[in-house]
Amino acid sequence: MGLSNYVQLFSQADFWAALSTSVLFSSGSTFVSIVLGVLFAYLLTLVRRGRGLFEAVFLMPLAAAPIIAGVAFAPSGFLDDINTFWHYILGQAYFNVASSHTYLTIMILSDSWEWGPMMMLIALSVLASVPRPVYEASESFGASRWKTFRTVGLPAILNSPVMHFMIIIRFVDAMRAFEIPFAWAGWLDYLYPGAPTDTLSLYLFKLLLQPPSGVIPIPLISAAALVLLAVTLTAATLLFRAMKRMRKI
């Protein structure tokens, strides 16, 4: 495998588009799933009655297969329900499915839907390990629930090494995400390699199965796979360092 493969790879606009979609999708879904998870956990800490029931409902997406996250949020599924509500009840214009803003948002949302509950579990576990006296002290000074959460719970969650690990592992896993982009390639009929919904792993998959010139470009695919590995590893290392520094402060 020579350097020429890399030159060829880097000179392809498709490759750069897929790479940026991957990075956008991964960082977006990592971020949104944390927001959802922390929000769910906070809501649960506010109630006693019905807490078990709500927690069970929140955990549901975890049990769904990843391909279901792609299927259930499809233009004809969840998005359609949102659109009908948006259009008929609120009287707004339809969301245009083919616009990259819409489908990327929904793809990120569906991945966060699947993994938000995991972040919620982590947040709840971290909250459970904060000693009760700390909460009671804060509340005895007359702090509201929200203020106690913001000054005690939230920092504990965000500074927890477990949360940092989850952030890294979610980012790394989302970089390899396959099911959701795969489903969306089906919804929008983007079946050729280099389509706008392609993440890097789906791009590789399509190159393998539907090579544009009829011959499977194995050197190109292995070059792209190595680049994906390098990008993921670099990002993971940077995140790892940043979080180590954060923990020391």
Partner: protein, 299 residues
């Protein structure tokens, strides 16, 4: 959980104060539940979309017509149950997942504890190598494993699959648990040390009970990753250990290569069938370990 709750300030203000919280919880539940419901309904060939607009039902000379897709059938579920032999797949997946997680916990809990508490040099490096393993393409792992397994007779066996999945759950268990052990406030460890507890006692009596909720979260995460794993399962299992994730994807089956005309109804039905046991197991793990946690702290 059996707490009667509610401050003694009278009922009305309590309800009023709690109302926004419950509305928030309901909206969040709707977000979590809606796609699951869609999946189950579409698996049964029911499309309720037009109904939500309020314009789905038309009356033509007094007879109601529904403009959405409403052809309820259990055919997809029956196909998955009969042709796909789903109960067996569920049994296989569950056995493999829990065997693998048990091995990972047996080695990973002490390892995580050591990573969290030991002040030896090089612990950070050990942790990072474990993490970096996760970024390696599964292709690189699965081919050598396949060749080895065929030779030593682990191919298509529960033990073989469980060992192979250690690649996935071992880093997760070690890392998450070392994080949870680190989250236990240092003062608690110190207090135990000054009162003369041995390291073994600290581990069993103090560290382990305080991370019980964390162990539950870890087991759930590892379980979900293994339950949904596709690539290794497709290469390393044969007829007798085929897993649920293969069953869900078999809706895509032969057309998988062509990326086209996937049978979304079949996927939805299989997805619903795979969802039920997975959800039950997640709830079981969460309930069981959370209960153990409250008992440990009470006693």
């Amino acid at each position: 959980m059996t707490d009667r709750g509610g401050p003694t300030r009278g009922r009305r203000p309590w309800l009023l104060r709690r109302l926004p919280v419950y509305i928030g919880l309901l909206l969040a539940s709707l977000f979590s539940f809606w796609p699951i419901m869609t999946m189950a309904l579409e698996g049964a060939d029911i499309d309720l979309g037009p109904l939500w607009s309020g314009k789905g039902i038309h009356f033509v000379s007094g007879v109601p017509f529904y403009s959405g897709g409403f052809f309820p059938t259990l055919a997809n579920f029956r196909d998955a149950l009969e042709l796909g032999n789903f109960p067996r797949l569920v049994f296989n997946s569950t056995t493999i997942a829990f065997l693998s997680i048990a091995i990972a916990l047996a080695a990973g809990i002490p390892a995580g504890y050591a990573l969290a508490r030991s002040k030896l040099k090089g612990m950070g490096a050990v942790g990072f190598v474990l993490l970096a393993l996760r970024t390696v393409s599964p292709f690189a792992i699965v081919l050598p494993l396949y060749l080895t397994y065929v030779r030593i007779g682990l191919f298509d066996s529960y033990l073989g699959m469980s060992l192979a999945y250690l690649v996935i759950d071992m880093p997760v268990v070690v890392w998450m648990l070392s994080g949870f052990f680190r989250d236990v406030p240092g003062s608690i460890y110190e207090a135990a040390e000054t009162s003369g507890a041995s390291e073994r006692q600290i581990f069993w009596r103090i560290a382990l009970p305080s991370v019980a909720a964390g162990i539950a979260a870890t087991v759930i995460f590892a379980f979900v990753l293994i339950w949904n794993e596709f690539l290794m399962a497709s290469l390393l299992t044969g007829a007798s250990t085929k897993t649920v994730s293969l069953g869900v994807w078999s809706g895509v089956g032969e057309t998988f290569g062509g990326l086209q005309s996937a049978q979304w109804d079949a996927i939805n039905a299989a997805g619903t069938l795979a969802f039920v046991p997975a959800f039950a197991l997640i709830l079981l793990v969460r309930r069981y370990l959370a209960k153990g946690f409250s008992l440990a702290t009470a006693g």
